[in-house]
Symmetry: C2
Subunit: 116 residues, 2 copies
DNA sequence: CTAGACTGATCCGGGGCCGAAACGGATCTG
DNA sequence: CAGATCCGTTTCGGCCCCGGATCAGTCTAG
């Protein structure tokens, strides 16, 4: 079974969610930052700067800066790879888990109110 | 009938869509710009700067700048209100319609591939 | 006709993000 | 060992966005 979602529903869903996140005076993540956050939490480790840069098709400095911002917000954290100390492993945090769970609840809530 | 969407599905959906839009080297709209675009296309006119500022809970200069950017991309256009020349009416464009239709197709496509 | 209210745009100082290039540290290789 | 290679970070100049204050244009009430 796959999820049935018509184009008009997709736009309405997106509008309600984006509008709500804009209205809330929260962290205000950029698309790249949000993409990194979701990738780290939804795909299996390890996550490195180079790997994320490749996955997002973006330069390495962009990833470094995004990790700075997300780390500042305590949504993500860095950890040296002790096996190969050149690498940096990007890891989850409690606050990040809560943030994404809240976001998921927002989406499901909006979807539930959507006319089919 | 309402749309059933579990939290884990919501996050997976969002990740695939955001990741795809980040990968594509497209216009790269901010959340506010995207919220404005969706609001103008999905809710009934007229749309004014002040009205959008209130809807998004954002300052007027932010709306003006976003309209500059979206107008530059030809996704939206401004038009003086001839009845009350103080107002600026924000209107749709062909390119904007195509852009949102493509985006909606992307979302529905991703949703269709989602495991239920 | 004029004083005031109201519109959207502009000015301003400040801050964030951009990618190419250069950097220092860690690791591999000959 | 020394040189090459790989990693993430930093530097650099440039661009965009931020909101409070202010502006010019428009409308309206008295």
């Amino acid at each position: 079974m796959t999820l049935e979602l018509k184009p008009v529903q997709a736009l309405a869903l997106w509008q309600d969610v984006v509008l709500e996140t804009v209205r809330r005076e929260g962290p205000d993540l950029s698309s790249r930052q949000f993409a990194i956050l979701l990738t780290v939490y939804l795909t299996s480790p390890p996550h490195t700067v180079r790997g994320l840069a490749g996955t997002l098709n973006v330069s390495k400095p962009a990833i470094t800066r995004a990790l700075d911002a997300l780390g500042q917000l305590d949504l993500l954290k860095r950890k040296r790879d002790e096996a190969d100390r050149r690498n940096v492993l990007v890891q989850r945090t409690v606050k990040g888990s809560v943030f994404l769970r809240d976001f998921a609840d927002l989406v499901t809530s909006v979807a539930g109110r959507l006319e089919a």
